[in-house]
């Protein structure tokens, strides 16, 4: 029972790491700016999940605040880049 739970948790961590890597590949090769920002957006969500996982791993609830603030800042960043691609405020 315990080993099954252990397996599920480590498997999800490795899956998340692989998905981070795949988004990173798209971030590097993406032909346009929008592709790169989409990849960055999904990388942010994945890293929020990693932060929550680490909060569980180290039993520190303070890391959840880090995840919240990181989500807020990344949302602002994506919207700002979108405005920039669009050609500024009108």
């Amino acid at each position: 029972m315990d080993s099954l739970i252990q397996f599920l948790f480590s498997a999800s961590f490795y899956l998340i790491l692989i998905s981070m890597l795949m988004s990173f590949i798209r971030l590097i090769i993406g032909p346009t700016v929008a592709d790169r920002v989409v990849a960055l957006d999904s990388m942010t969500i994945v890293s929020i999940s990693i932060i929550v996982y680490l909060a569980l791993f180290y039993q520190r609830s303070i890391y959840l605040d880090v995840a919240l603030v990181y989500g807020l800042l990344s949302f602002m960043g994506v919207v700002a880049v979108a405005r920039y691609i669009e050609g500024g405020l009108k």
């Binding site: 999800s12 989409v38 969500i45 999940s49 880049v81 669009e86």
Partner: protein, 110 residues
């Protein structure tokens, strides 16, 4: 028992996050990438946080806040990006069948 349920839900969430990133890597153009990216990462992270809720029941407040935040901001940011990409003139993939928005813009330009 609760830990086992939490582990299974977390694993499902991780699978969806993985598939979302795979979609971002495989899809042919930026709009389709956005479709895969937004939907799969939203449900993936929601399931992931729900699984963590089962493991640590006293964190439920902050995790619910995170889930609400992701549900509301993720579609907004992807909509902003899609709109910006279309305005910047990024073309749809070759197998696309129609583009009403470009037709509308053409009418205005004439």
């Amino acid at each position: 028992m609760m830990e086992l349920i939490g582990g299974i839900i977390t694993f499902l969430g991780a699978i969806f996050l993985f598939l979302g990133s795979l979609g971002i890597l495989r899809m042919p153009d930026v709009y389709n990438r956005m479709q895969a990216g937004t939907k799969a990462t939203t449900l993936g992270s929601i399931l992931f946080f729900m699984g963590i809720c089962f493991m640590e029941s006293q964190w439920i407040g902050k995790l619910v806040l995170l889930i609400l935040f992701i549900i509301f901001t993720n579609p907004v940011s992807s909509h902003a990006l899609a709109r910006a990409a279309h305005k910047a003139g990024i073309k749809l993939a070759d197998q696309s069948v129609m583009d009403e928005l470009a037709a509308k813009k053409g009418e205005i330009d004439d």
